[in-house]
Symmetry: C2
Subunit: 398 residues, 2 copies
């Protein structure tokens, strides 16, 4: 049979992990700390029902919902993005700076289509979001890891690697990072924007979790310090509205958005208009503030229960990140424990997580003692039961 | 600023045309025979309203609609594809042969990601669908045109060019082709499937229009003659359900679908679940047959009115394809008339079409006398008014 392109071979390894992630979400008896889904209780089903019932009539909007749209996205949703999502973060955007995409993953795919040539280097955090790496590899880029600590990317290491590798892009999730739950400090945000400008590197800032803050103080995005347009800010509606709608957006200079328009046209024309209209109404009717409070309350409780369970059930020698928001904590076991091997024990006990090595692009063997634990999709009582199972499995290996 | 990838420069030219196409749809005074949209009167707004109201409740399906889904698409919609769309075409597909995509354009993008390396050759019809060419060029493929006549691709020319260029793929819209409105004959369908198998070339069969047949006899798809899996059958729900939902599907061997799964995951995870559930219900409630009859009745009338207008209003020296279905006819003016120059006159008279040269990848100057006329999106009375305007403009140039 006709040969697949080279890029397909590049992505094989991590695709299997993604497949497992999706599949672990479907066994009802397994308590899965593996997926990255938000709480099902936080999904605005009733609000979407009411909006859909009202807009889907044979007037202008009902027809608009089912007819072809514009690759940029519908104006109502772009306006919601500029006024209700970007402005509160201190980001001033015009309508022509925003393009609606079909979910956060697609924003990274489109930016990759726009910039990456085979062999280009992308600097990523260690650890980083596995699906982003998969996308960069699909475009035959080489991902190089930069050091991180509790305050995010270590700037000296990023600068040294910019000089050494002349990367096209630095990919960073500065707030409640996936997988580590860590947040990049204010100083480092400034420094990253400046590095992008000074060395003419794209800083791809991915911000799906920052609205879900349960404690601590809000920080401005890297993009707010960008004076040259080198930072491209991408975001998803998956956590604050609904993952299944598949909506997100890209905020960048008009020049870049015009090119993204062409790539979006050749990828899938535009995001589902029905989903866009419902999402736009959700924001423009002013339903978001109360909904966000509800989301944060639900997930804060889960974060608190999870961190209590870790403190009570796991030995003190085990370190866990305390996340001020988002969906994840990152647990480091003693070096003697291999979390990939441990996963078999865990699945047998009907509890799941993602082994830490999956989130590293280099030096994976040195991170075999880590795991990502996702608390967002699990009810509080089940978090306790799941963590009892996991603690038992871990202790048996200590 | 950081440089765009080479692939972006490749697509520039045609992207401007697409942009114009989208924009010509928005001036309310212009009667546009330019776009490829189906009749707004044919959109199932009420059915979608009723389905959305019923499924969006806090039970399993309401939650499913808003939560993450599987890259393959929801089983209910894949089942609707195998049983209600493929089986009636004589195509036997298992659930694992079908993957749901975000619109027909995306199916071509994903297949291109799967197969095309820079420099690969794709054979296309002359004329062909301009957005497909844009996608192949985005993947740095070289498009080579093959001869067509009233029966579709000229097989001898396709075989000669397979031998000469060793293409990776042959792209073909065999039924009510965009832009020509022509249909590939039964013998040539068989021959194309056999060429794919004999020379190990992918035959990418794009079938968005075949359900919209207003006259003549149904023909089996190329895929029905494929014995080796070399034909990949892609389709869209845009014409038979709704363009704005952005849904389509790929039907291929399990081996290919497994790889498309990986690429879909890295493109945008999965199609909008809300749109998928509504579309699946539409088919599984048995609403499609009556809806399709309605679509065909509406568009048949438009086809008839358009062909009458052409016969009555344009001189006999002007040739037009009589399409047995779909949305397009193809008009050839005397060689002395340049349809790109004529478009300025037409727009001044508030009527639009797409100049023929845009649909050719080679030898464009020899097709400057052609135009694509799309009748699907225009009400019958307006077709007459628009054609009066266009006839006046054309006659002034004869």
């Amino acid at each position: 049979m006709a040969k697949f392109a080279k890029r397909i071979a590049n992505m094989q390894a991590s695709a299997d992990v993604i497949r497992q992630l999706f599949e672990s979400m479907t066994d009802p008896e397994t308590i899965s700390f593996g997926g990255g889904a938000p709480a099902r209780e936080a999904l605005p089903v009733e609000l979407v029902h009411d909006i859909a019932s009202e807009v889907l009539t044979r007037d202008k909007r009902g027809i608009q919902a089912l007819q072809y749209g514009n690759p940029t996205g519908i104006p109502d949703l772009r306006r919601a993005v500029t006024d209700r999502l970007l402005a509160p973060k201190g980001l001033t955007a015009g309508m022509d700076n925003v393009l609606i995409v079909s979910g956060g993953i697609e924003s990274m795919n489109l930016v990759s289509q726009l910039y990456l040539e085979p062999g280009d280097v992308v600097l990523v955090e260690a650890p980083t979001f596995v699906q982003a790496v998969q996308i960069f590899q699909l475009f035959e880029a080489r991902c190089i890891a930069c050091e991180t600590d509790d305050n995010g990317l270590v700037i000296e290491d990023v600068e040294a690697k910019i000089k050494k590798y002349s990367p096209k892009m630095v990919y960073v999730i500065p707030t409640f990072q996936n997988p580590s739950g860590r947040t990049t400090s204010l100083e480092r945000r400034k420094a990253l924007a400046e590095l992008g400008s000074r060395y003419d590197v794209i800083i791809l800032e991915d911000d799906p979790y920052s609205e879900m803050r349960y404690s601590g103080t809000k920080l401005p995005p890297i993009k707010s310090f960008d004076k040259t347009g080198n930072t491209i800010f991408v975001n998803s509606f998956s956590k604050i509205f609904s993952p299944g709608s598949r909506l997100g957006y890209i905020f960048a200079s008009e020049e870049i958005i015009r090119k993204v328009y062409d790539v979006k046209t050749a990828t899938n024309s535009h995001a589902s208009v029905l989903a866009q209209i419902i999402c736009a109404e959700f924001f423009n009717r002013g339903l978001y503030d109360a909904h966000l409070k509800r989301i944060c309350d639900i997930h804060r409780e889960r974060r608190d229960v999870m961190m209590d369970c870790i403190a009570k059930m796991l030995p003190d020698s085990i370190k866990a990140v305390y996340p001020d928001g988002g969906l994840f904590t990152w647990v480091e076991l003693p070096q003697s424990v291999n979390t990939t091997a441990l996963l078999g024990d865990a699945l047998a006990q009907k509890v799941a997580y993602v082994p830490g090595r999956e989130f590293f692009v280099e030096d994976r063997d040195n991170h075999d003692n880590c795991m990502r634990i996702s608390f967002g999709g699990v009810e509080p009582e089940k978090i306790c039961i799941g963590m009892e199972r996991l603690a038992r499995v871990i202790k048996a290996r200590l």
